[in-house]
């Protein structure tokens, strides 16, 4: 077994070893994340909300280095605030995603974070954008974080277009539950955010309420 003096975690980078997911449905999006923050083998926060608001109807999901991801989200939140006042209307989801991408790409050597940007605007309805490594691409759904690799098979098999909001929420919760089960860096509770034309709804699903599968 590993010999640990117990203080390595103080000097290791704090990562949101994570599972994050965002799914588009006709009329909006659903975002989901786990809540574990780890520093090496220690869990330093078991209830962190990794779904960060960029604007009223645009959220982003954080993964990678906790500090990097949070800072990008805060900077973009500020930029969108100014932008929406300048153009005198709600910003487009594409604008938010472009702002995130511009930072991620420009500082890609220094930063280690992947944000999934998702939201609703009046022009194109619900949209999900992935910004991994500074690319920008719109997708029907996106997964990210260390837990995502455990569930690629599940999401590829189970996702269908034309799902309703409730079906998307169930899909998100199932995905998170399976990832948390297998990934040591993901755990805690599941945060779910649903965004549509009428507003934004935040929900927490506690650990014991998560769906269980064959081995639980």
């Amino acid at each position: 077994m590993l010999q640990e003096t117990g203080t390595e975690w103080l000097s290791q980078e704090v990562k949101t070893g994570t599972t994050i997911i965002a799914v588009e449905f006709d009329g909006g999006v659903v975002l989901g994340s786990d809540s574990r923050v780890s520093a090496g083998a220690s869990v330093v926060n078991r209830v962190m909300n990794k779904l960060s608001p960029l604007h009223d109807k645009i959220y982003c999901a954080l993964s990678g280095s906790a500090a990097d991801a949070q800072t990008i989200a805060e900077v973009v939140h500020y930029q969108l605030d100014v932008h929406s006042i300048e153009i005198d209307e709600d910003p487009q989801v594409r604008s938010a995603a472009t702002l995130v991408r511009n930072i991620s790409y420009k500082y890609k050597e220094e930063l280690s974070a992947h944000l999934i940007v998702a939201g609703w605007d009046r022009r194109d309805g619900g949209q999900v954008f992935a910004t991994l490594s500074g690319l920008l691409t719109r997708q029907p759904f996106a997964v990210g974080g260390s837990g995502s690799s455990h569930v690629y098979g599940f999401v590829d098999a189970e996702f269908r277009g034309g799902m309703s909001k409730e079906e998307c929420q169930q899909f998100v919760v199932n995905t998170l539950s399976l990832a948390i089960n297998r990934d040591g860096s993901s755990g805690g509770v599941a945060y779910i955010v649903s965004i549509d034309e009428h507003g934004t709804e935040e929900k927490v699903v506690l650990g014991n309420d998560l769906p269980t599968f064959f081995d639980q």
Binding site: H83, I87, Q92, R94, S95, L99, N102
Partner: protein
């Protein structure tokens, strides 16, 4: 409205005692010396028309354009000092390009208009620079927001319009524009009307040759700003010339009445015949001048 601002008009950083910045007003006079540009917004787009005076037969046809493209979806028609206008078109292009780079989509026209207007306004604040001597009209079409039209003048003010005119014949052009029901017209119908208005306001006597620059942006061009295609332009010019001939014929009857008006120092009382007031005392030359006066536009 015009007055000399002696002493208070040397720099843009000085107010006159009655609260005016004369340098800005002089800049607007520069616009009024330029030939006319108009733009009209209709149900499904925006049409621009410019009366481009050709000062020399040696100019290549199509040179010294006064309609610019700002990004793919925005058109800009200018009046005033052309060099100032060109420099501002570059400013507008930089703004649109930087917006696209930061936010990933077309710049909304109101925002572009606000930004360029702010830039123009900045040049009205300092004595080290002079205000821009040009006004310009920006127009675009977006499938969600529809057609939009904004005009910016040398003071840095920007307004949204359904139809506007800048340049020497702007008053006459505005009168013609107000007669149109633009909210119910399509771009194709409007092109002909725009051509007609430019032909109407063009002063045949003072300014001889002119080229008609026409462009549009709308559903018909899928939101891209473009010069009018050749067949549409020919149809529009023909319509404009034909309408003018019709008006000429009806003008002949009106001319006699106008001549008698000019020859009197006061208007005749109702029922009084012109001949009783010594109408023939004036020299024939006077008659000719007044005929020309009424045919042109001021």
């Amino acid at each position: 409205m015009s007055s000399i601002g002696t002493g208070y008009d040397l720099s843009a950083s000085t107010f006159s005692p009655d609260g005016r910045v004369f340098q800005v007003e002089y800049a607007m006079k520069a616009v009024e010396n330029s030939s006319t540009a108009i733009a009209i917004r209709c149900k499904d787009g925006v049409v621009f028309g410019v009366e481009k005076l050709v000062l020399s037969k040696l100019y290549e046809q199509g040179s010294n354009k006064r309609i610019f493209n700002i990004d793919r979806h925005v058109g800009m028609a200018v009046a005033g000092l052309l060099a100032d206008a060109r420099s501002l078109s570059e400013v507008a292009r930089d703004e649109a390009s930087s917006f696209r780079s930061s936010y990933g989509h077309d710049i909304p026209l109101k925002h572009l208009s606000d930004r360029v207007a702010m830039y123009v306004h900045a040049y009205t604040l300092y004595s080290a620079v002079r205000p821009f001597g040009c006004s310009f009209i920006l127009g675009s079409y977006d499938k969600d927001d529809g057609p939009q039209l904004y005009m910016v003048d040398p003071s840095g003010i920007s307004h949204g319009y359904w139809g506007c005119a800048i340049g020497k014949a702007k008053q006459a052009a505005k009168t013609e524009i107000e007669k149109l029901q633009m909210k119910e017209m399509t771009c194709r119908e409007l092109v002909k009307e725009v051509a007609k208005i430019i032909y109407i306001v063009h002063d045949e006597v003072k300014d001889k040759a002119f080229e008609l620059e026409l462009s549009w942006v709308g559903e018909v061009t899928n939101g891209r700003h473009q010069l009018i295609p050749e067949e549409v332009r020919q149809e529009a010019e023909k319509y404009a010339k034909d309408s003018l001939e019709e008006e000429d014929d009806s003008d002949e009857d009106n001319m006699r009445w106008h001549v008698s008006q000019r020859l009197h120092s006061t208007a005749p009382a109702a029922g009084e015949s012109p001949t009783e007031r010594g109408a023939f005392r004036d020299k024939p030359q006077g008659t000719m001048l007044s005929l020309q006066f009424n045919h042109g536009i001021v």
